[in-house]
């Protein structure tokens, strides 16, 4: 099943003749379990695209469908719940809650929903991400790479339909980036998790199953690496 479909997505700012076309008719389909990298230079529209996919911004035209649900049909409250349950986010600056410890951060999206976390699954995630010994630490005491690993675990915790990662290694040094990147890929494989990752770095994109290139708000290339 297609987890993510965007249909002729457009985002325009301003009016003619000074109109800015941040996105200009982007149609793409992402299948379940795929790990897709969206590459483009800054200003190419890739972050706008990610914001639309995550329901963080509203398109001028077009439709985003995640796991069969149209985002445009939802009101703010439903959209918030939908995001929490069905979309996992990994941001450049980790966005962990500083007053919660590592474990509490990881299960936050699940506990916000009033759900009980699936312990065996969470344990597997924590093991894969090498966080077993750090569960009681506070985010402030962790290195950037460790914080990002917590953020990845948090994104995986609710078993979302889709994980959106925006420059996940943007703030990390090269060594840590390679760790984090490997783990994003590994968790996508291990848990059959669909991941869309935005990056400007070609080399980082290489680890994905498919690379989508975006320039001036349009898809210019889409190719598989497998």
């Amino acid at each position: 099943m297609s987890i993510l479909i965007t249909e002729n997505l457009k985002k325009y700012y301003g009016k003619e003749p000074n109109i800015v076309r941040a996105l200009d008719g982007v149609s793409l389909t992402v299948e379940e379990g795929e790990f897709v990298a969206v590459v483009g230079t800054s200003g190419s529209g890739k972050s706008t695209l990610l914001n639309m996919m995550g329901g963080l911004d509203v398109p001028t035209e077009g439709e985003v469908i995640i796991a069969g649900k149209k985002l445009s049909g939802m009101n703010d409250e439903n959209l918030t719940i939908f995001r929490r349950r069905r979309i996992g986010f990994v941001f450049q600056n980790y966005n962990l809650v500083p007053i919660l410890n590592v474990y509490e951060n990881i299960i936050l999206p699940v506990s916000l929903d009033g759900e009980k976390p699936d312990d065996t699954y969470i344990k597997k995630v924590i093991g894969l991400l090498g966080l077993k010994d750090r569960l009681t630490e506070m985010p402030g005491n962790l290195s950037g790479g460790q914080q990002q690993r917590v953020a990845i675990a948090r994104a995986l915790a609710a078993k979302p339909a889709l994980i959106l990662a925006d420059e996940p290694t943007g703030n990390l040094d090269s060594k840590t980036s390679q760790d984090v990147l490997g783990l994003i890929q590994a968790s996508s494989r291990q848990f059959n998790q669909t991941v869309v990752m935005i990056t400007h770095n070609e080399e980082i994109a290489q680890t994905a199953d498919r690379i989508i290139r975006i320039e001036d708000g349009k898809i210019t290339e889409s190719r598989w690496t497998v």
Binding site: S2, G145, T207, V226
Partner: protein, 313 residues
């Protein structure tokens, strides 16, 4: 009394008329609904798509059309997938037959020659040598394909176990020592610190061998190949650097695809299986692969393997 009976009768009649009216109306709506659904299905069958569907309304028809749309999409996706697989199988078959053609033609030719009774002993010996080489090539081809298909069908499970990094790197270098020596290529192993990795030794060696084998094949005589390691918190990176022909930037993301070979590699023997297998093996032990290359200057292939006890760090 009479008046009361008539009143009740009139009431019953009225009720019956109303019921009949409702029934007729329901029937009309039901028929209209069914016709609309049939129309929608006809649209899909005729390949007109879902353009005529009213998907945003809060009606039963709209709901049904939405479901039909999903059904249509799922069927279309399944059809596309099966078409893609069919093409892939065709491609694989034609690739394999292409690879088998030359050695088999050679075997047939040299067999005929060797059977010629007027041939001298020396000539026959030479024929046999060529035959041996060609059969070895066929054997290699078939072995690679068996390994590939076993991995693909998940017939093989990789068992990650504690593996010594230095030993792994040295064994990998050793596996291409003979072919490297033939081309006077110097291989250099640089492992700055001891480490224990979590990987399946036999298959990881195969993965590294494929990379090193490429490095030897696509490097000029007398060049150098460097194998070095770098330890990170979660992964250890093993990089194989050569001074070979390199990969052109537009194909850097294609080289791991099965049977993919760059045009300039046509004169070098090979199948286009090596890196594909390597990537498969690595992903089965939670590792990954990264390639950097400068065309004409050399290639660096990095293999990332999990450190044993990932939580210690």
């Amino acid at each position: 009394m009479m008046y009361r009976v008539m009143l009740i009768l009139a009431f019953v009649l009225l009720l019956a008329a109303a019921a009949a009216g409702i029934w007729l109306d329901m029937r009309r709506k039901y028929i209209a609904y069914t016709e609309a659904v049939c129309g929608s299905i006809d649209d899909l069958l005729a390949g007109k798509g879902t353009a005529g569907f009213r998907l945003d309304e809060d009606t039963l028809l709209s709901k049904t059309q939405m479901k039909l749309k999903y059904l249509n999409e799922i069927t279309a996706a399944a059809a596309r997938e099966s078409e893609r697989q069919k093409l892939e199988v065709q491609g694989v078959v034609s690739d394999i037959s292409h690879q088998l053609k030359t050695p088999i033609a050679n075997v047939v030719m040299y067999c005929d020659t060797a059977m010629n009774p007027t041939l001298s002993g020396e000539e026959r010996r030479r024929c046999m040598e060529v035959l041996k080489g060609q059969v070895a090539k066929l054997d290699f081809l078939v072995q690679s394909m068996i390994r590939m298909s076993r991995l693909e069908q998940n017939m093989i499970t990789l068992r990650p176990e504690p593996t010594d990094l230095r030993q792994l790197m040295e064994d990998a270098a050793e596996s291409v020592a003979v072919s490297a020596e033939k081309k006077h290529i110097c291989t250099e192993v640089d492992c700055p610190e001891d480490a224990v990795l979590s990987c399946d030794e036999k298959w990881t060696l195969e993965a590294l061998f494929n990379i090193l084998d490429n490095a030897v094949k696509y490097s000029p005589e007398g060049s150098r190949i460097r194998i070095c390691s770098e330890r990170m918190e979660i992964y250890t990176k093993i990089t194989v650097e050569d001074e070979g022909i390199g990969i052109s930037p537009e194909h850097i993301n294609d080289v791991c695809r099965r049977f993919f070979r760059e045009e300039k590699a046509a004169k070098t023997e090979g199948l286009g299986i090596g890196l594909y297998l390597t990537r498969e093996i690595l992903s089965r032990e939670t590792g990954y692969l990264k390639i950097r290359s400068k065309e004409g200057n050399g290639t660096a292939v990095s293999v990332y393997l999990l450190n044993e006890e990932p939580s210690a760090g």
